[in-house]
């Protein structure tokens, strides 16, 4: 019974995989429903498309207890600083799913009132297309996020130096754009 026959199990797994497995299966979304996509997000939370099988059943209202912010809906210029404030108040590690084309790129409302893409305010991990994305699309986006967490890298390989200006917190820290209110051309 050499070392090779040992199949991969709890004992032989690395602690990083354990932490990633724990994080992936208990991502709690913060209720950030803005517009029509919020209704589809609620129906994903309800009985028919049930995300509690992915460990995301409970929608935490306060960002202090949430890991994932699903930006569901169009982000107006008045809402941008509030969205940024809620994102800043979320505890690390945190992720963002930009649900729907309005959040991802301003969608069909290319005008003065809508921020053309929420990635000008917060770093986005997964974009879910659709207007509104059907619950299956949102589930697919959530599974893509799980995949991203699973293959993401937390600890830093020994010997790789910390890039200048970044704290030594492993490869996890996303760079946050500093724009808060994005002035679209008048």
């Amino acid at each position: 019974m050499g070392f090779e026959d040992l199949q991969h199990n709890f004992l032989t797994g690395r602690i990083e995989d354990l932490v990633k497995w724990a994080r992936r299966n208990s991502v709690w979304p913060a209720t950030f429903g803005l517009a029509c996509c919020a209704i589809e997000m609620m129906s994903v939370g309800a009985a028919d498309y049930d995300i509690s099988r992915l460990g995301m059943e409970v929608f935490r209202a306060s960002p202090r207890q949430a890991d994932l912010m699903v930006v569901a809906g169009r982000v107006s210029q008045k809402m941008a600083p509030v969205l940024r404030q809620v994102y800043d108040q979320m505890m690390e590690p945190k992720w963002v799913i930009s649900m729907g084309v309005c959040a991802s790129s301003g969608g069909m409302f290319n005008n003065y009132a809508i921020v053309q893409g929420v990635d000008q305010i917060v770093p986005v991990d997964v974009y879910a297309p659709g207007c509104p994305p059907s619950p299956e699309t949102l589930l697919h986006a959530i599974l893509t996020l799980h995949e991203k967490i699973r293959t993401g890298e937390i600890t830093r390989r020994p010997g790789t130096s910390v890039p200048a200006g970044e704290q030594a917190t492993g490869g996890w820290v996303p760079t946050v754009p500093d724009a808060v209110r994005v002035a679209t051309p008048r």
Binding site: Q77, N110, Q116, D119, T175, P177
Partner: protein, 173 residues
């Protein structure tokens, strides 16, 4: 000055519930009224006393790029127009009061003391079109952020369209 004075007699057409109710298209000729800016408030309270219980809608229209609209004789077309939509439940009728507001002094009397429900609609007309309602208790913006300059729904206000970049746009990261 052609003003259709509101009187009970013109209120006969109650839509009785019989199959041959007049078709929507031909019943749509609502009562229109074109008061002058000074007699606007007095006409609104006159309509209210006659029996128009509910003020359905107050909105503003900017006629900068469409001056040639059909107006009854004697009404001088101005740039802005405040449109008030009153509804009478007892007489089952609507009336649309259209007031011309000049561009030089875009202000008109507020009807909040006659119809308290018009408070938010007037704030929206002020916010998006820039028409000040004199006597309104809380004349501030309602939809746009507080430090927003300009009134977006005016015709000379750009749509603010961000040109769609087809080339590989440098992402924030």
């Amino acid at each position: 000055m052609t003003e259709t004075t509101p009187n009970a007699s013109t209120a006969g057409t109650t839509a009785a519930i019989h199959p041959e109710v007049p078709r929507l298209a031909d019943r749509l000729v609502d009562q229109l009224a074109f008061p002058h800016r000074d007699t606007y408030h007095q006409m609104v309270s006159a309509f209210r006393d006659v029996g128009f219980e509910l003020c359905a809608d107050v909105c503003a229209v900017d006629y900068l790029t469409h001056p040639g609209r059909t107006l009854p004789a004697g009404v001088t077309p101005e740039r802005f127009e405040v449109v008030v939509n009153l509804l009478s439940m007892s007489m089952r009728q609507r009336v649309r009061i259209r007031v011309q507001v000049p561009e030089s002094d875009p202000s008109v009397d507020s009807i909040v003391d006659v119809y308290p429900g018009a408070d938010a609609m007037e704030r929206e007309a002020f916010d998006l079109m820039g028409i000040v309602f004199a006597g309104h208790p809380d004349m501030t913006r309602i939809l746009m952020p507080e430090d927003w300059e300009g009134h977006p729904l005016r015709k000379d206000y750009g749509v603010g369209r961000v040109p769609v970049q087809f080339k590989e746009a440098p992402g924030p990261r």
